[in-house]
């Protein structure tokens, strides 16, 4: 299966909608996690206060990020960790490859990490001739299949156990089975050998504590513990936004993250790592390397709206709550970060021009905002990014270079060639749009015109209706002529009712009402 890209979101989404198996799996996963999350949140008396507090802590960190990062680094180093700063993906990958080279490493085990997916670390390591094995069961499955994760928490949610069994039969030579326990134990057996032989373990980081220089990683399987305990070298890759000020702040976030992600009170294991072992004879790696990655994150600090994106703790709750994600799944977003949070983070990381469809992949219903454990206002962010896209197109249209534009946006754009790229992207805004809204305003201001328009619409729609819908999704071509066709490119439209409310009112409702009124 080829990897989908952000630039073809509409087509990706349409293909996903036709995938019956995928949609069944998504329905099961999103509703199960949604129900569990709600039950877990309701199990706490002060869920809302915790969310508010978590966000306040994150805001405090982000507004003083330089200071807290410096504090984190100084404390981590004083406990024996070695810290590496990486401006972008390329630099982070170079650091990891250089470390592998310095240790004459051949075999690497990895635990699940979004940030290493973001920088495509595996590709780079393999290019350097290193063997990299993903050890999280779901990640291992999709690595065997050569696919990308489709959910933050359950990366292989798009695959059935039958497909996984076939994959294991093909790649690992096992007898065909669809017993999940058997498949799990096969993976356990294969991966134990990898753990035993690995030279380096690579993990992500959920939280870094400035006060103590601690990193914390959550998991359920035990592969993070093995990855960070057995090999002689542990490399932890973390985004610069993962910092919390105090050790005690972990209390708040350890209550929110597992409950929001899987509905657990706590995940099975938390590895709370502060530097390296103190005696040579102790257990654990000899070296701990922490790679601090910017890769576009510091740009998001330039405006309070975009800065919210950096509060995200990667729980996946917004995916499960999102009516769009529920239908199309993670692959359609074409990025390692799917769902509502992906729709706002991806364009900021890779540039609006390359992901201009993503901020539109939302009905702005607000479900994501309701479930977010750190109260990120994702709809606000989506609108902010849409505005940036429109601004970019205006600028392109008039060939004017950013005169008098908001300075925040200007800085955020730096080095991204936004305007041109946005104009090239799939979302085309026409002068027609402005005209259309003027006509709309005219119509809404005149009852006669409004009624006439409804009648005309009802006559006209007979020509384009199919199965009671306009522009049926999946139809070979849209019967609405451009530019109206754009409206139905990615969604069905319900037809205008056969009789308008006004007609119903005139024909009887008014009389009914008079009759019902007491005299």
């Amino acid at each position: 299966m080829s990897h989908l890209t952000t630039e073809t979101f509409d087509a990706n989404a349409r293909a996903a909608l036709g995938d019956v198996q995928l949609r069944g799996a998504l329905r099961n996963a999103t509703s199960l996690f949604g129900t569990r999350r709600l039950a877990a949140a309701n199990g706490l008396q002060n869920w809302q206060e915790l969310r508010t507090e978590a966000r306040a802590i994150k805001d405090l960190v982000l507004l003083n990020l330089d200071r807290y990062l410096a504090e984190f680094v100084s404390n981590a180093e004083s406990c024996g960790a070695q810290v590496h700063w990486a401006r972008d993906a390329e630099e982070a990958n170079q650091i990891v490859c250089r470390l592998a080279n310095e240790h004459n490493a051949l075999k690497i085990v990895k635990s699940k990490s979004m940030v290493t997916e973001e920088i495509h670390l595996n590709v780079e390591l393999e290019r350097h001739g290193l063997e990299v094995i993903e050890t999280d069961l779901g990640e291992y499955i999709i690595q065997l299949a050569g696919e990308a994760p489709s959910h933050i928490i359950v990366p292989a949610i798009h695959k059935t156990k039958r497909q996984i069994a076939e994959l294991f039969t093909e790649k690992l030579g096992i007898e065909p089975t669809d017993d999940v326990d058997r498949l799990t134990s096969v993976a356990r057996g294969v991966l134990r050998q990898r753990f035993a032989a690995a030279d380096i373990g690579i993990s992500g980081v959920n939280f870094g504590v400035a006060e103590t220089g601690t990193i914390l990683i959550l998991e359920n399987e035990g592969n993070v513990r093995l990855t960070t305990s057995l090999p002689k070298v542990h490399i932890a890759v973390m985004g610069i936004e993962k910092i919390l000020p105090r050790f005690a702040d972990l209390d708040v976030f350890l209550k929110l993250l597992p409950r929001s992600g899987t509905g657990q009170q706590l995940t099975t294991y938390q590895s709370i790592i502060t530097g390296t072992k103190r005696k040579q004879s102790d257990e654990g790696p000899e070296e701990l390397h922490i790679v601090l990655l910017d890769n576009g994150r510091s740009r998001m600090l330039a405006h309070p709206v975009t800065r919210q994106s950096l509060a995200c703790i990667r729980c996946g709750a917004c995916l499960n709550a999102c009516p769009v994600y529920q239908q199309i799944g993670g692959h359609a977003y074409g990025s390692v970060y799917p769902g509502p949070i992906g729709a706002v983070i991806t364009p900021q990381l890779i540039g609006l021009g390359k992901a201009a469809q993503l901020p539109y992949a939302s009905s702005l219903c607000g479900a994501c905002r309701e479930v977010c454990p750190v109260k990120i206002d994702i709809p606000e962010l989506l609108l902010h990014l849409r505005a940036e896209i429109t601004e970019g197109q205006k600028a392109e249209g008039s060939r004017q270079k950013a005169v008098g534009r908001e300075p925040g946006l200007e800085v955020a754009r730096e080095g991204r060639d936004q305007d041109e790229a946005v104009a090239r992207s799939g979302i085309k805004k026409h002068k027609m749009e402005g005209v259309a809204f003027k006509l709309f305003a005219l119509m809404m201001g005149s009852p006669g015109l409004y009624e006439w328009n409804g009648k005309a619409g009802r006559l006209f729609q007979r020509l384009v209706m199919r199965d009671g819908r306009i522009g049926k999704v999946g139809a070979t071509f849209s019967r609405l002529a451009p530019p109206l066709g754009a409206w139905t490119r990615a969604r069905d439209m319900r037809p205008i009712a056969q009789r308008s409310f006004r007609e119903l009112w005139r024909d009887g409702l008014a009389e009914d009402r008079q009759r019902d009124q007491p005299h």
Partner: protein
């Protein structure tokens, strides 16, 4: 050269952070996001009301209940004899299954050797703190733990206090012994007790139940990479940790 690269990357990233925060300042003043009713507090919140009485008996009960809820097996022992009886029963039960429990690896907690000598069940081998490579061949790991959390059924393993990082992880079964006096109510209390600076172990591991995954069709499978069975013996008798402290020195002030 690498040192220079690292320095210039650090300066670039910190500089970029400062530059973009400065660009944001005019908007921060007018944007509602900066306004929060709740100030971050120094300590965590109390999530649950205190139990009806603060005695360790109710903490033991709450811990056991929450451990059971995540698939762990708690046993309460009133004295050392009951701890040994519980160990004997768990091991002999395991021996009837495919989990065998014939080769047993212990952490370096000195209390364990004495307890295991009194086991009333036959085993092939009992080894203290085998190396990482050998551990893969053991059926069972036994350790004590430094603390437990009642509200979540969680064990707290501090690497500076005991050599149990791998014994609790690699074999397919883990038996942990916790003193009832070391059970605290909330996660927040446990985090506070982990100490600061030198008192904080290089690795603290929180363990809540056996290893689990739902990565295949959301079907729960127990024991994917870590132990598939977790037994916890809660010792209400004289504290086992006292024996430990002779060797390991003063523990953090719990």
């Amino acid at each position: 050269m690498e040192h220079e690269r690292n320095n210039s990357a650090r300066e670039a990233i910190l500089g970029s952070i400062r530059q973009h925060l400065a660009a944001s300042a005019p908007y921060d003043a007018v944007h509602a996001e900066g306004v929060h009713e709740v100030e971050p507090r120094a300590a965590g919140l109390d999530v649950k009301p205190a139990p009806s009485n603060g005695t360790s008996a109710s903490l033991v009960e709450m811990f056991s209940e929450n451990l059971r809820a995540v698939g762990g097996h708690p046993v309460v022992a009133r004295n050392e004899a009951e701890v040994i009886a519980a160990l004997t029963r768990i091991i002999s039960d395991l021996q009837k299954t495919r989990l065998r429990a014939r080769r047993i690896a212990l952490s370096d907690s000195p209390a364990l050797k004495g307890l295991m000598r009194q086991l009333n069940v036959e085993v092939e081998e009992i080894a203290t703190s085998p190396g990482a490579a050998e551990l893969f061949d053991y059926d069972l790991g036994v350790s004590t733990v430094q603390a437990a959390i009642a509200e979540t059924g969680t064990l707290v393993l501090e690497s500076e206090q005991e050599r149990h990082r791998l014994v609790s992880l690699v074999p397919p079964v883990h038996i942990a012994i916790v003193d009832a006096a070391d059970i605290c109510l909330t996660l927040g209390e446990a985090l506070a007790a982990m100490g600061r600076g030198s008192a904080l172990s290089p690795t603290v591991t929180l363990v809540t139940g056996p290893s689990r995954t739902a990565d295949i069709e959301l079907t729960l499978a127990i024991g994917v990479h870590g132990p598939q069975e977790l037994h916890v013996i809660v010792n209400e008798g004289p504290e086992i940790r006292d024996q430990r402290s002779e060797v390991r020195g003063q523990r953090s002030n719990r």
